[in-house]
């Protein structure tokens, strides 16, 4: 098999079923270069699904697999699987232009050895198409043991909304899937692989993932944050991501807040030497000094810091970096600035310097360092409407304040704080005063009262919110012993002389993709770039910076650092306003037991199928998994195109009288094929409802064919025969079985077919003339079929069966038609029309386009093979008329 695609082929064969394979092999043998395009992950078509095939009862796999291998090994046949033909257009030179999309399999086929280890660790189960949904397979899977090519593929629909939403690049779907399987250690591992500080995030993250959770749209979302917290706080941190090799390059990180820690964490994992410089006496930055301890216990922060220190990161505390030159002199080749955004904004009104007026961060800092101001019994006001204001209010309550009022200039719905935070504050007894703005803080020695003005909401500003208009004529005084100002922060521009570019509000300007500043070798991220924002964003920015710093220093792309869509870029536009997720941790309490966590995780819908848990990535011995694989467009020139796209099976769920899809023991014939095949999902023929071996089986012919009411008045041609075959195989597999076939006409028309029918009758298969019009279920799962007993006593008769097989018909599969710009005609049943089926078999209405096998009408395997042979002759003749001589 040639792996390299060429830009021109003599013939492109679409469809790797028996007809497509046969034609491709024949043309290849004649010397023509063929490309076989298959939309599934393996060739083999419908035939490979079958058990044995009539009338010789030989094994379908034994016939199909050598053909499949021949296709793969043929020197002039190139195989392209998991690929969809997008368009076929005629060219001026008489040839055809074919456009194909190769869908990403997320597994590098040149590395995959088909060993199947990935399947064992995969966390997501899906119905197995190969087994017609009778059993499950994994999100990563090898289609079936005889697959050609025998390579794994991942069923993946982008990134799950939760994972796409995480600014830190965590994969909630991934760790949920692991928790669901009870693999809690692996869940923690998966979290730690994507971001540090799981304990911190488990406590303080605002969980944008939960807001996006698909489950939440249909009720309560998965408690993603609580699950993370559960594994972060309950499992030992034994596993570390120690670097495989050391890289002798030094990086300085300025600031030990979440962003700096995250950057250091990832760089150290890559083997770089990292030193964090922190001006405070303990590391953690905002986490330690800004977030109240009641929200984030310090043991949790310290445990998270251990993860980083264990990687060899050095944290120098009590040292403020004032110039970058010294760092360069110390041999640091790159610097990450993560200095935060801590400078409080002021109101600029009289009395701001009165004792009793506190800035939010210094208030929180004093609380967090165990030296809170004396507030007991006092009346406290908090100015501001953000999350920090609420933190201050609730902290004030914890300092013993008698009454705490949050004063905000707009209405509740305009508050920048998350609504669930407001609710929690309300629940704790915080009071709110809306549409008021302070004009003056008054008091003799210390604050006694605040002069408030009423605020009117004016026109909407550029952010879409009503502009507050202070009305100084309507004032009131508000008695207060203390006031905490929580009206915002901005970064301190600390390196004014180093040539950095700043935004007017003091934020550093960086490249949003790489987080590089305009100074060579210096990167920046977190609040100093974005202004005050969520911890997760800061962590994400650190991760992004680490990625680019590594690339900057080594010239390599670090494949193991995954910058998922939302991972914190520097641009402010990326901000999202969060709505409260429905299930904000309410599903289970503070300290769940593992069973509760597993159950909660079990509600996940696997909306992107693959959970991105990356267990396969870590397990694959060949390193073949590539989750970044992209679709690939292929354009090529073809002398001829063969349509061998086969047929579709009728879906009986559209016929309610059959009971299919409602009664588990009504199955399709294809499901029966799987139950009978040697590669069957169970080691016996069992009915799906209760796993019982069915003793009395009914086969209902013409389910979805010869039925105008079902939209298909045509005969599907194969069903009579495959049903007779299944009847015989069933009698072989279940010696005590009784099999009844209900028919309108028994169409055993081919060579040896009538004899096959007689053989079945001789074996004791009951043949009943009469179409089953209705199937009912009994309480024990047995089924009752109703038919008119026209050849017996007349009238309606009921018969009871333990399993009913619907011999579903073959429908046209005209999908490809839309790819052809020329007029490609279909016949009345929707199959591709042969214009002159007697004189010129396989020739369609479009020059250069041929059809073979069941794509031109239902056919059994021998007829497909013959038809495919005819197509090869026609194509060879056509190519010769174009001037292609083949070999």
């Amino acid at each position: 098999m040639g792996n390299e695609l060429s830009s021109r082929y003599d013939c492109v064969v679409i469809g790797g079923g028996i007809a497509g394979m046969e034609t491709a092999l024949l043309l290849g043998d004649m010397g023509f270069e063929c490309l076989l395009v298959e939309k599934e992950a393996s060739i083999g078509g419908k035939m490979i699904l079958l058990s044995k095939v009539f009338p010789t009862l030989d094994c379908a796999s034994c016939i199909a697999t050598p053909k499949m291998a021949a296709v793969q090994n043929h020197p002039r046949v190139t195989l392209l699987t998991y690929a969809t033909v997008e368009s076929i257009a005629p060219r001026e030179d008489g040839r055809l232009e074919v456009e194909i999309t190769r869908r990403p399999t997320f597994v590098d086929p040149s590395r995959c050895t088909g060993c199947g280890q990935c399947e064992k660790v995969c966390t997501v189960a899906r119905p197995d198409q190969f087994n017609q949904g009778l059993v499950a397979r994994r999100a990563i899977y090898i289609p079936f043991p005889q697959a050609v090519p025998k390579k794994a593929v991942i069923e993946r629909r982008g990134l799950s909304p939760c994972s796409a939403a995480c600014p830190a690049g965590l994969k909630p779907h991934g760790y949920v899937a692991l928790i669901r399987k009870g693999r809690l250690e692996r869940a923690l591992h998966s979290i730690l692989r994507e971001a540090p500080l799981p304990g911190v995030l488990g406590r303080v993250c605002y969980a944008p993932c939960e807001t996006r959770c698909t489950r939440g749209k249909k009720g309560q979302s998965i408690p993603l944050r609580a699950l993370k917290r559960f594994v972060a706080e309950n499992l030992p941190r034994e596993e570390r991501f120690l670097p495989e090799k050391k890289i002798p390059k030094k990086v300085a990180v300025v600031g030990s807040g979440p962003s700096g820690l995250s950057c250091a964490y990832f760089l150290a994992r890559k083997g770089l030497e990292v030193v964090i410089f922190e001006r405070d006496e303990a590391p953690g930055g905002l986490l330690r000094y800004g977030i109240p301890t009641w929200r984030l216990p310090r043991e949790i922060l310290d445990q998270d810091l251990e993860d980083i220190k264990a990687l060899g990161v050095k944290i120098v505390t009590g040292k403020e970096i004032r110039s970058l030159r010294s760092l360069r002199e110390e041999g640091f080749e790159a610097v990450y600035l993560a200095t935060g955004s801590l400078k409080p904004r002021t109101l600029g009104i009289p009395g701001e310097d009165l004792p009793g007026v506190y800035a939010a961060l210094s208030f929180l800092r004093s609380y967090n360092t165990g030296k809170p101001p004396e507030l007991s019994g006092k009346k406290v006001a908090v100015i501001g409407g953000g999350n920090v204001a609420l933190d201050c209010a609730r902290t004030a309550l914890r300092c013993g304040a008698g009454e705490v009022t949050v004063i905000y200039r707009r209405d509740r719905e305009h508050m920048p704080a998350h609504s669930f935070e407001v609710e929690e504050a309300l629940a704790e007894g915080v009071k709110f005063l809306f549409r008021r703005a302070p004009l003056e803080f008054r008091g003799r020695e210390r604050l006694e009262e605040i002069l408030l003005a009423e605020v009117r909401l004016g026109e909407k500003d550029e952010t879409g919110r009503a502009r507050p208009v202070v009305d100084p004529s309507r004032t009131e005084t508000f008695r207060a012993d203390a006031v905490i100002l929580a009206i915002g922060f901005q970064p301190e521009a600390i390196f004014r002389d180093e040539g950095f570019s700043y935004h007017p509000d003091g934020r550093l300007k960086v490249d949003p993709e790489t987080l590089a500043t305009n100074v060579e070798g210096v990167f920046a991220g977190g609040d100093c770039v974005t202004g005050p924002y969520m911890v997760a964003n800061a962590v994400g920015a650190g991760k992004r910076a680490a990625y680019h710093i590594y690339r900057y220093l080594t010239g390599e792309e670090p494949r193991d650092i995954d910058l998922a869509p939302e991972v914190g870029r520097g641009d402010k536009a990326a901000r999202v306003r969060l709505k409260a997720p429905v299930a904000y941790s309410s599903v289970f309490g503070e300290n769940p037991v593992p069973e509760q966590a597993i159950e909660a995780a079990g509600r996940c819908l696997d909306c992107a199928v693959c959970s991105s848990c990356k267990e396969c990535v870590e397990t694959c011995p060949a390193g073949a998994i590539d989750l970044n694989m992209k679709p690939q467009k292929i354009r090529l020139k073809a002398g001829a195109v063969l349509i061998a796209t086969g047929f579709r099976l009728f879906d009986p769920s559209s016929r309610p009288l059959t009971g299919y899809a409602h009664y588990p023991n009504v199955i399709t014939a294809m499901q029966m094929e799987r139950l009978l095949a040697p590669t069957r999902p169970y080691n016996a023929v069992l009915r799906p409802g209760d796993g019982k071996v069915p003793g009395n089986i009914g086969i209902v012919l013409c389910a979805g064919s010869r039925d105008q009411a079902a939209g298909n008045p045509w005969c599907s041609r194969i069903c009579c025969m495959y049903s007779l075959k299944q009847a015989q195989l069933i009698l072989g597999a279940i010696p005590i079985a009784e099999v009844t076939i209900y028919y309108i006409d028994l169409r055993a028309f081919g060579k040896g077919y009538e004899e096959f029918l007689q053989q079945a009758a001789g074996m004791g298969v009951h043949l009943v003339k009469g179409r089953v019009a209705r199937i009912d279920e009994l309480e024990n799962g047995d089924l009752v079929v109703y038919y008119e007993d026209m050849e017996g006593r007349g009238g309606v008769r009921k018969a009871r069966h333990e399993l009913v097989i619907l011999a579903v018909g073959a429908l046209a599969n005209p999908e490809l038609r839309k790819c052809v710009r020329e007029d490609l005609q279909l016949d009345e049943a929707g199959f591709f029309r042969e214009i002159e089926p007697v004189r010129e078999p396989c020739v369609t209405s479009v020059p250069g386009l041929f059809v073979a096998g069941a794509a031109s009408g239902p056919k059994d395997i021998p007829d497909c093979v013959l038809h495919a042979g005819a197509a090869a002759a026609q194509i060879a003749a056509y190519l010769r008329s174009l001037g292609s001589e083949g070999a």
Partner: protein, 571 residues
């Protein structure tokens, strides 16, 4: 033979093998074994890097044999053969040893024994590699020329198809005109084109085609040579003519069954077969009202399955002829469109208008044909006379007996094989139970026969409709094309060979070969390599161990057994 210099490579398969089998131990066990020059392990032998490395080693050490112990040969034998070729080593000197599917994965709980087995298997591989010979594919020169026997629809299509592919065609027909069963026919399904016109159309095209020569009133009377270059004789009016061709397509068709006089009223006035009726209609397309041999036809009764689907018994025609239901329905539609006043009644068993042909059933129903289902246990009774009376039990109204009068009873008979003793004699074509020519395998090789280079198509192989005959004619043409177009056929050289010194010419093997690939020449047996398929059916019958298949020589297999037995015994 040069001193053996083997390279042995053992694959970890990233743990798939090495988690169970101690690969290093295997390597050590074979390192330094006689003939082994290089023994290495690789994480993934199939990876491009490992292949480059092996190619380098093959060249550097001038290796003349290669053993790779990895996965199933079905996955990578071809990969490594090609790698060997790239490295300048004859691919048949490469031996694949399967220590994944048949060792590490099969014995995950017995690492020790699995390792021992792996050693045994690798040693077996070495034993085979030591005895492997450089082989080249068997090349059979082919001439781009073919004979098509029979000028019915299948033969005509095959001839045209072959010619359009650039193959010269000799079209041989025993009658004096082309067309077979379609020759004198009116409209046929599914195209509604007249059979006669279709044949004329194809014939004009063939006549214009300088690449096709036709021989009428001729039949095959001799065949010599092998596939790719047969020397064939055809006979015309007692004259013989030799034609050379690389392949033969047999498209001799079938003929409509005719009942014995008296059977089903046949022979009486007003009773005919469908084929006779169709010929009549083609001759008198415009006549109004409808007459058949002087009888005014107002009521027309078709009786289906006459001489078909008979209960098993000697000479019983048990088979279904596939085309007749649709043909009768199509005829009913035809009659209705020309003579709508005619009432048509069909006595049938199962209407087998399969697939898209269902439309003719629907049409016939819509045109007012009445259908009565009868059981073979009580077939319709046809009472001849001025007005024919037909009595039948109608299964569809709970077996009530009904009687009707008819002006014409049309017996819908099937097709039966044409007996062609000359073909059987010269081509040695196998014949199936019903007397039609037998393909090798209905799905894998539907137009091939056990006789190499001889292909079958059309109704000669079994009853079928015109479009199916045409498609099978072209399918045969495609197979011939695949055989002849390249100018040569390359075959795996792993075929039988005779160890001359052992052969005593007893000839037992000649009879055992199903392909006629063995012949006695003097007191020795000779293998006609172009005919041999290498399956080895001859091997066990030779009392002298004089026959063997390359790659599976007696000595090789025994050496292999030795290595395996020893390997397993080394506990």
């Amino acid at each position: 033979m040069k001193e053996p210099r083997l390279g042995v490579f053992i694959c970890h398969c990233g743990g798939n093998i090495s988690d169970v089998v101690d690969v290093e131990k295997v390597r050590q066990a074979v390192e330094g074994a006689p003939g082994v020059k290089v023994a290495q392990t690789h994480m993934f032998t199939c990876s491009e890097a490992a292949q480059q490395e092996m190619i380098r080693l093959i060249r550097e050490h001038d290796l003349n044999g290669l053993v790779i112990a990895s996965c199933s040969p079905r996955l990578h034998q071809e990969t490594f053969r090609q790698m060997a070729r790239r490295a300048g080593l004859n691919p048949y000197r490469y031996v694949q040893v399967n220590i994944r599917e048949q060792c590490s994965w099969a014995h995950p709980h017995h690492p020790g024994e699995a390792t021992r087995k792996a050693v045994a298997l690798v040693k077996g591989g070495i034993a085979r590699a030591l005895r492997a010979r450089s082989l080249e594919p068997i090349v059979i020169k082919t001439r781009p020329e073919a004979m098509v026997i029979g000028a019915g629809i299948a033969g005509l299509e095959a001839a045209l198809g072959l010619s359009r592919m650039g193959i010269k065609v000799h079209l041989v027909e025993k009658e004096d005109r082309p067309g077979g069963l379609l020759r004198d026919r009116g409209p046929i399904f599914p195209t509604d084109q007249k059979g006669r016109e279709l044949v004329e159309h194809l014939w004009r095209e063939i006549h214009r085609d300088a690449n096709i020569r036709t021989y009428f009133r001729s039949h095959l009377c001799g065949k010599e040579g092998v596939v790719g270059d047969f020397r064939l004789k055809i006979c015309r009016d007692g004259e013989e003519k030799e034609i050379r061709a690389g392949a033969i397509v047999v498209a001799t068709g079938a003929r409509p069954h005719t009942p014995q006089p008296g059977e089903w009223g046949y022979g009486s006035e007003g009773v005919c077969t469908l084929y006779e009726f169709l010929l009549h209609l083609a001759e008198h397309p415009e006549e109004k009202p409808l007459f058949y041999r002087g009888r005014r036809v107002r009521r027309l009764v078709y009786v289906y399955c006459v001489g078909s689907r008979e209960p098993a018994g000697e000479k019983a025609r048990t088979y279904c002829s596939r085309y007749c239901c649709t043909a009768a329905l199509y005829t009913a539609c035809l009659v209705h469109s020309r003579w709508p006043e005619v009432t048509q009644v069909h006595l049938y068993r199962d209407i087998r208008s399969y697939g898209k042909y269902e439309k003719y059933y629907r049409r016939a129903l819509g045109y007012g044909s009445v259908f009565v289902r009868y059981s073979p246990q009580s077939p319709p009774e046809i009472h001849p006379g001025g007005r024919l009376r037909v009595r039948v039990r109608d299964l569809l109204t709970a077996k009530q007996e009904i009687e009707l009068e008819a002006d014409l009873v049309c017996l819908v008979t099937g097709l039966e094989p044409v007996h062609s003793p000359e073909l059987l004699e010269h081509l040695k074509l196998p014949v199936g139970k019903e007397g039609f020519f037998q393909e090798v395998h209905p799905k894998l090789r539907p137009v091939e026969t056990m006789a190499d280079g001889v292909f079958i198509c059309g109704c000669a192989q079994g009853p079928r409709t015109a479009e199916e005959s045409a498609a099978s004619g072209l399918a045969a043409a495609a197979k011939v094309g695949a055989l002849l177009l390249a100018g040569e056929v390359k075959r795996e050289p792993l075929v039988a060979e005779v160890i001359e010194e052992r052969c005593d010419g007893c000839g037992e093997c000649v009879a055992a070969c199903p392909y006629g690939a063995l012949e006695l020449s003097g007191d020795r047996v000779r293998v006609r390599e172009s005919l041999c398929k290498g399956e080895g059916a001859c091997v066990p019958v030779c009392p002298q161990e004089a026959l063997q298949v390359r790659g599976y020589e007696h000595e090789t297999i025994k050496a292999l057994i030795d290595s395996l037995a020893e390997g397993l015994a080394d506990a």
